[in-house]
Amino acid sequence: MTVRKEQELILQQLGRRQLANGTIDRREFLTRSMVAGLGLAGVGAVAKSGGIGSAFAQDRPLTPTFYQWIEDLHPAIPAVNANFEGINYQIAPVEGFGIERFVAEAKDGKSTWDVYAGQTPFVEMSAMIEADVIEPWDPYIPQEVLDDMIPAIRDECTIDGKLYGWPFLLDVIGNSWHSGITEAAGLDDTAPETWDQHLANAKAIVEAGAAPFGATFDAHGWRSIAPMTHSLNSDVYTSEGLFDFTNDAAVEALMLMKEIMAVSHPDILLEGASDGGVNGTPDEVAFAAQRVGYYHKYFNAPLRMAQNWDDPKQLRLAQLPKFANGEGSTVFWTTGCALFKHGQNKEKAAEYIRALTYDSQIWKDSIVGTESGHPGQLPPYKSVYAEWDANPPDWMPEFVGLVRGQLNQAKAITNHLFGLQQFVIGKPHWEAYLKGEESDPKVALQNVADAVKAEMDRG
């Protein structure tokens, strides 16, 4: 049985490669794929007729698996794959961030794939380690690559001194605005330096009637309260690695959120419409519908939404505002690559991920945008930015430099089994303050901390 499964895989993958090379036409590709997909005895016959029986003699090819959106947003990936002969590129069964299948395989001491592109450290890396799914990259990653990583990013991907994630796509929480709307409100086309200015501008938009709403944000904690707290003080993690909701900076951030909500759309706190409420959020729709002026979130969001505008060029991006006497930090995370403990081709995988993460076309596409999308995700390596600084490409927009500057202070959410979940558990409690059900922000945030602790104590 297993042998046949392998045969199917090789057949399918080989068929696709031949299609790409133009050696078989589309119709034959479909026939073969169907036969392979049906898993019927016809495999042998197809193998003979196609003269590809020799494919079975090969070892398993390098088998990476990607989160679907990465492929959708970065159309240059297939070009990188083309340099890796025989690569068996797959889409991961992790729709909605589920890692069940990886864990189930690891329990059997095996893995269908060699490397997974789609791991976000604070979201799932601790769980992947705990379940013995992944292993550190250290034996395979070249020292110069390790040294090339922006220090905060290397920290983000490291647990107990070992690099469990090879960073790939960097998302930073920053600010953005619709210059058509700000202009109509008579505002300067410059980035608000401070939150006070951000708020004042947002109010000006509503008062001038330039748009129904002044500003918005994504209400999920790691995209709102965490970066806003960091902009005042990023030293807000407890000794066990949890976000310290009772910290004064968090209280300030929560009060700021409420002030922004006063000039925002009423559905701002609602859950999103895809991926378990995490994506397709109301802020995105409001910004896409050109009904709101200012928007702070990871850059992918405003860039993606602005493509729905009458004139996407009216989008402006900048660093996150800060509190008047704040640290000026923000939150970032990378979506990177995990090495399956029970996978194969580990050296090859390292070679592949290196090629992938340094591919200049991917970065150019990501920053400038292509027909397939405009992710705005940035590279994790110092040398890439240094190269751009030295020879600025004519396509380089201004925000990349601004964000690179902020990366020196920016900080990822500390890795923890509850790294993401603490914000999910806490959300209803701090929203009690935002909705006016609880008048004291400190009490609301204490409730958050209590709820998180209660959930952790269960285990």
């Binding site: 997909g37 898993g39 989160y67 990465i70 959708d72 069964p93 729709e95 069940e100 299948r101 729709v285």
Partner: protein
Amino acid sequence: MTDAAITLQGTGAREAVSQDPGWFQRNRSAIVRHAVINLFNLIIILPLVWVGMMSIKSRPDSMRGDFWPRKFDFTHYAYVFEKIDTLPINLFNSIYVTFGTVAITSVCAVLAGYALVHLRPRGGAFIIATLLVSLYFPVRVVSIISIYEIQDNLGLINSTSGLILPYVTLQLAISVLIMRSMFQLVPHEMFEAAKIDGAGPWKSLWMVGVPMVRNGLVVIFIVNFVTAWGEFLLCSTLTNDQVARTMPVVLAGAQGGLGQWSWPALAAVYVLVVTPGLIAFTFAQKLFFKGLAEGVTKG
């Protein structure tokens, strides 16, 4: 016989008394009936028409509530074909898996329903009770990991055919129960008579039983069709390769994550996916209801 005629017959006893009630009066109940049906039809169709419009709107117009766009954009369909080059295969997979599931489940359900009612096996009551209990178990959520293990042991991970096995089980219990209640309506004497005529249990099932439970079969076809056609969780967990997956799973990739497609492109997918289903169903409809009608006239 036309609708109006039935109505006339139905209400004839009293209305015949009133003299020449006029066209509207005579057809009142038919008019109301069609109006109500069409109201529901409208409720079903309007959202879909809205989606159809969405698929040809320009992106800025897709983010406005207006039904009629300021600017049309017909390029979204090309985008869909370009992005999901495996769409025909996925569609084929869906059809294949769905029909496999419907066929196997129907056979299982007919055999089991017949045996439970007319062959009265020992332990039948226990089997029925277990089937009933299983309906109330959220097996799906908790069992995904056991099912993964089973499929893995059978070597059926990433096999499209392999999906049929867990799919059959999704509605098996309800299908058997439906068949059981259908067979309960068939008088036991009919099978006794067949037995006396020398027919074994298989033959009497085929000759006597199946024609009698046609209506139930239609229901089972539809129940299983709908379930297998739309199934998402099992397929996304048990297959890896885009060419091995069914259509819903491939489509799900377009609507989630950071790569979420623009709304008009999603709408174009919609139209492309719903249309073949619709055409297939128009034909299947005819067969189903022909079967139904025959079942009625002969029964």
